[in-house]
């Protein structure tokens, strides 16, 4: 039986108090929202925070509101189920709702929050195991050990970012607001993730995510496609988020973000460039897909063979672009 390790517990009512407690406790404290990522990790002793600061009573971190400029503010404490049941979000941001609905199961989405999914711990076959399993291999670089079993000799951890909503937030140009004793700062979703399986977020331990803002999407179209072993529920072994804005028949702006192949969601810059100024012909889409495939380097640390996962980058980017192209015809 896996029990939680002991901890001291705070459940403050305001974001300001959360930040004060985090500042006082230092990095041995952890924020907990839905608990669906943190508690399994605590049971397996990946994380053993001395103090938990629960967000469950912090009402200001919840809520969804459309602003006069067409942007959407989402409180990061909003549960995933509430977002997928919101018809306005479904109509205006279908890629976001597709990503949310693809996370785990309905019962877990009743607990897990959008902020929690953005801050999801990175995952690896050598890390997401119980304590005894990990001890048997003398642990790994990400937690308690000093060898990366995926790439022995590597000085950095290659655990992958498996968030479904992270690549969508990047593709949609979302901004995230963080507060700490040093004040408030805003970061682009693009800069929130770091390509290091251990230090995978630009968020500091004493910072709290307070707002997610998705700008007006204008006439652009977007999509999220997910590859996984079981369609009923599973983490992604590949996630592709794409957004295209047309000027007439020509691509004006393109955003393509690949996830679950590296420690951070990765923008396919070359693919985006190859699309801009062109019509969305089959040849152009195939070229963009190839340019996303070439630099992607999945390692042997999730489900499925990594060479096949790399091939699927090409397939899924092409499918995502085809999906968007046909959505412009409707």
């Amino acid at each position: 039986m896996m029990r939680l390790p002991a901890f001291a517990y705070h459940a403050p009512n305001s974001a300001r108090e959360v930040v004060e407690i985090l500042a006082g406790e230092g990095p041995s404290a952890s924020i907990v929202a839905g608990g669906t990522d943190l508690f399994p990790n605590m049971k397996r002793r990946h994380q053993t925070p001395k103090t938990l600061v629960s967000l469950q009573d912090v009402d200001e971190l919840r809520g969804v509101s459309w602003q006069s400029d067409g942007s959407l503010r989402i409180g990061p404490g909003e549960i995933l189920r509430a977002l997928e049941r919101d018809a306005d979000i479904g109509n205006r941001l279908p890629a976001l709702v597709a990503a949310v609905r693809s996370i785990s199961t309905p019962v877990l989405r009743n607990m897990g929050t959008i902020g929690g999914n953005l801050c999801l711990d990175t995952r690896c076959n050598y890390y997401n195991q119980n304590y005894e399993w990990r001890r048997a291999i003398n642990f790994c670089l990400k937690c308690d050990g000093d060898t990366c079993w995926v790439a022995p000799g590597s000085k950095v951890c290659w655990a992958v970012n498996s968030s479904d909503t992270a690549p969508v937030m990047m593709a949609l140009g979302a901004k995230l607001r963080l507060i700490s004793p040093r004040g408030t700062r805003e970061v682009d979703a693009q800069d929130f993730f770091q390509n290091d399986g251990i230090d995978y977020l630009a968020k500091k331990p004493d910072e709290l995510l307070t707002d997610i803002e998705i700008p007006d999407q204008g006439k652009s179209r977007s999509v999220y496609l997910k590859l996984r072993r079981r369609d009923a529920f599973d983490f992604p072994v590949l996630g592709v988020a794409a957004r295209i804005e047309l000027d007439g028949e020509v691509v004006k702006n393109a955003d393509i973000v690949i996830n679950a192949v590296s420690p951070a969601p990765t923008r396919a810059n070359a693919s985006e460039k190859a699309l801009i100024g062109k019509k969305m012909s089959d040849d152009v889409l195939a070229e963009a897909a190839l340019l996303a495939y070439k630099p992607s380097k999945p390692l042997d640390n999730t489900d499925f063979e990594y060479a096949w996962r790399k091939k699927m980058v090409k397939v899924y980017v092409r499918r995502a672009l085809e999906h968007i192209r046909s959505s412009f015809l409707i």
């Binding site: 002991a6 901890f7 407690i21 839905g34 669906t36 399994p40 785990s104 019962v107 009743n110 607990m111």
Partner: protein
């Protein structure tokens, strides 16, 4: 500095409603709702499965919505309304879902049954005429390794007939 609501080793006391009764429960602060229900309240109808939020057998209703009790802190339940499988039967006998699960044989080993019953109860209160696709999606968080799910889907559909008041179940 705010004083923590719970320190490491001392038992805490919390008040919440379980199956309609207001209960004062004391438990160690690191316990999950699953552990509090089973070990401190001796309500063993809620089953202990994967402990990691994957299998769904520990599902209970918290304020009417299904949650995984293995991932809810007992500490987080202050003031909450919890329903477990022990609370499903009413004064008139078993819940329609319990009747059809039994009559159709939607259980073999029975370990997943409490999780299915409560997940289905929350569903039918929101939608008493779910189509098969909705049913599959809504119940996808609970795993059964015996029945192949067909009898479970049939049992929920059959119970919905009674819940909608369209006739007696077998």
């Amino acid at each position: 500095m705010t004083t923590p609501q719970a320190t490491v080793r001392r038992k805490v006391q919390r008040t919440f409603t379980v199956n309609g009764d207001v209960e004062e429960v004391s438990f160690l602060p690191h316990k999950t709702l699953l552990e509090v229900l089973r070990e401190d309240m001796h309500l063993t109808g809620t089953k202990h499965g994967c402990e990691l939020g994957e299998c769904g057998t520990c599902t209970v209703l918290m304020n009417g919505e299904p949650v995984l009790s293995c991932l809810v802190l007992g500490l987080a339940c202050e003031g909450a309304d919890i329903e477990t499988v022990e609370g499903m039967a009413g004064p008139d006998g078993p819940h329609p879902l319990q009747k059809t699960f039994a009559s159709i044989g939607a259980a073999q080993c029975g370990y997943c049954t409490p999780g299915f019953l409560l997940t289905a109860k929350a569903l039918v209160e929101w939608n008493s005429n779910p189509d098969r696709e909705t049913l599959k999606e809504e119940l996808s968080g609970v795993l059964c390794r015996c029945t192949g799910y067909l009898q479970i889907f049939q049992a929920v559909e059959e119970a919905c007939v009674e819940i909608r008041g369209e006739g007696e179940t077998k």
